[in-house]
């Protein structure tokens, strides 16, 4: 549905987005994952026209958007990273305002509003001021306001950051439902476990795409094996030993009492790390991200 072609953006000396090319497939969930400064938000802002791109092209349904961003904004709903609705207006007033701005007909507005309030579990809070809502509720409200215009493309910039785990699960359930309705969803997240839920995952770092594919595709193409190791003795001493070993340095990281070690080729890291237990596991997206990030 949307294609970024060699998009770049610099803020002074900082290259926020560096020759990024990626595709947002229709009726699917595309997730941009990466740490702060990866360029995810800038990419979204360029898509809706809030930030001017330096170079490259954005194609919507095969046609270059050029400088006419209304072509994108007329079919999309954009939810910024920061809660940007009116805190002093109630849930219902916020929804009414944005529906009126989008010129949703009165009858349809009433029906949609009711359906969204029920779907997001906000019905009991419809009269509550947005500023008094919990983090999760705020994000649900922000999502509801963009859904009032029934957009084909839904852009969500870190919608689950700072949201409690239960609300995150509920939020994702709504996103899955939207996908089943045939909507195209593109969202960003710093949580790699969350990113695994995407149909297409784009791993980003410092304005560049590290890798992109489905989770299955990423796993298939991943060149390393993952070993979960319970070291003998002190785990920090074991990590110091790994750091000093040129064969292992930069390939292991701590996760609780375990060391997660990425190993290329057929060699087994167990021979170099004194351990009580070692299990080969399927690499997670987090393992892959760390691997590619260190490679970069």
């Amino acid at each position: 549905m949307v294609r970024f072609q060699e998009i770049s953006k610099a803020f002074g000396a900082i290259r926020a987005v560096d020759r990024v090319s990626l595709e947002i497939a229709p009726a699917a969930i595309t997730i941009l994952a990466g740490a702060d400064g990866a360029g995810k938000s800038t990419l979204f802002k360029m898509l809706v026209g809030l930030v001017k791109k330096d170079s490259g092209a954005i194609l919507l349904n095969g046609a270059d958007v050029g400088d006419d961003y209304s072509r994108v904004t007329s079919v999309c709903g954009y939810m910024p990273e920061k809660f940007s609705l009116y805190s002093d207006l109630s849930v219902e007033e916020n929804m009414d305002f944005f529906a009126a701005v989008q010129q949703v007909p009165e009858q349809r507005r009433r029906e949609l509003k009711q359906r969204l309030l029920e779907r997001t579990g906000m019905e009991p809070f419809r009269g509550r001021r947005a500023g008094a809502l919990s983090g999760g509720m705020k994000q649900k409200l922000a999502l509801s306001t963009i859904l009032l215009s029934s957009p084909q493309l839904i852009i969500l910039d870190e919608p689950t950051t700072g949201v409690d785990p239960l609300s995150r699960i509920e939020f994702f359930a709504i996103i899955e439902e939207l996908k089943r309705e045939g909507r195209t969803i593109v969202m960003s997240t710093p949580y790699l476990d969350e990113a695994e839920k995407g149909d297409h995952i784009v791993l980003m770092r410092k304005g560049r795409v590290l890798r992109q594919d489905s989770i299955a595709g990423l796993r298939r193409a991943f060149p390393a094996r993952m070993f979960r190791i319970l070291p003998r003795g002190n785990v920090f001493a074991a990590m110091q030993g790994i750091a000093a070993d040129p064969e292992l340095a930069g390939r292991a990281y701590l996760r609780g009492k375990f060391i997660r070690c990425l190993q290329e080729g057929r060699e087994n890291p167990g021979a170099r790390i004194p351990h009580l237990e070692m299990v080969e596991e399927q690499p997670t997206l987090e393992d892959m991200y760390i691997y590619y990030e260190r490679q970069a």
Partner: protein
Amino acid sequence: MGRIKAIIRKEFLHILRDPRSLTLVFIIPLIQIFILGYSVSYDLDRVEVALIDLSQGGTSRQLARAFAASPVFQVRSRSADGGALSPAEAEDMLRQGLVREVIVIPAGFDRLAAAGRRAEVGLIIDGSDVNVANLVYQYSERVILDFNAARMGSAGLLKIGTQMHFNPEARSRFFFIPGLVAVILLMISAMLTSLSITRERETGSLSLLFISPLKSVEIIVGKTIPYIFVALLDGAVILLFARFWFGIPFRGALPVLLAFGLLYIVAGLALGILISTVAPTQTTAMLAALLITMLPSFLLSGFIFPLDSLSPVLRAISYVVPATYFLRIIRGVILKGAELRHFLFDGAMLAAYSLLLLAVAIRKFAGQRKAAQ
């Protein structure tokens, strides 16, 4: 129209639910007019003066009584020990600022007066504050002229018959307070819209408006209309306060003032929008609105200094200060009962100013929106 209505409704909700802004809008102007209404005045009341009567005759005592009877002066003619004030003591008092003037009735004053010859009275005035010195001189001169006329009876050849029209008691408060209304109204209007837009920029909601189907003109018009009502209400509150607290007369027709006031308020609101396009934060916007509206309105509109006394350059600048036009209108309507036809030029200038500012504000806002892309 539906989208503009949605913005108007939203803005009204913001106003009603933000007690801080409501305080800013209604209480601060009242405090300003209260303080400035008392402090900015050319009237003198109970000015301390020293009087040395070296003649000690009937006529000199009559003159001393004439000064004492004036509501303007508080005459001190005795020293601390109860004796007559000496010239040295009076000079000391003048230096210390205890008195503003020393009136000296010289020895021989009575003798000359009785002989029908010219007798002189000395006025030594503290000139460190020229405005006060001039007023003290004028008031003293009036006392002496009245005293002279009373003594001469009908012997005087000419008599000036003076009538102060519109302000019979020549109270400077009548002149200043309508001016204050004009200054405060412009300041509040500019502040209202500048804060409204910068607040949206700070919270991030302006980005959502930017990418919405709303046209820039719809955003600006929708944001301006509610504040027209607020500023009009504010103006009414200030005028009522001026009328009933300071006793300022209202001789003109309210619809005339309302019509011109509307144009003036739109100019102020448009100025606020312009400020908001460059001010990144609410604090900057507030300071900019204060600076841009208050200083020129106070100094270059004829509020304090008559336009005739300004240098040609400053006078030229005064023509782009909207308060210059509204000041003439409000003083004319309130004090003189002037009608619409008396201020057609000023009204046309205000209308042109409002439309121009609004057009520039919309253009600048749209440019900013475009620049984001």
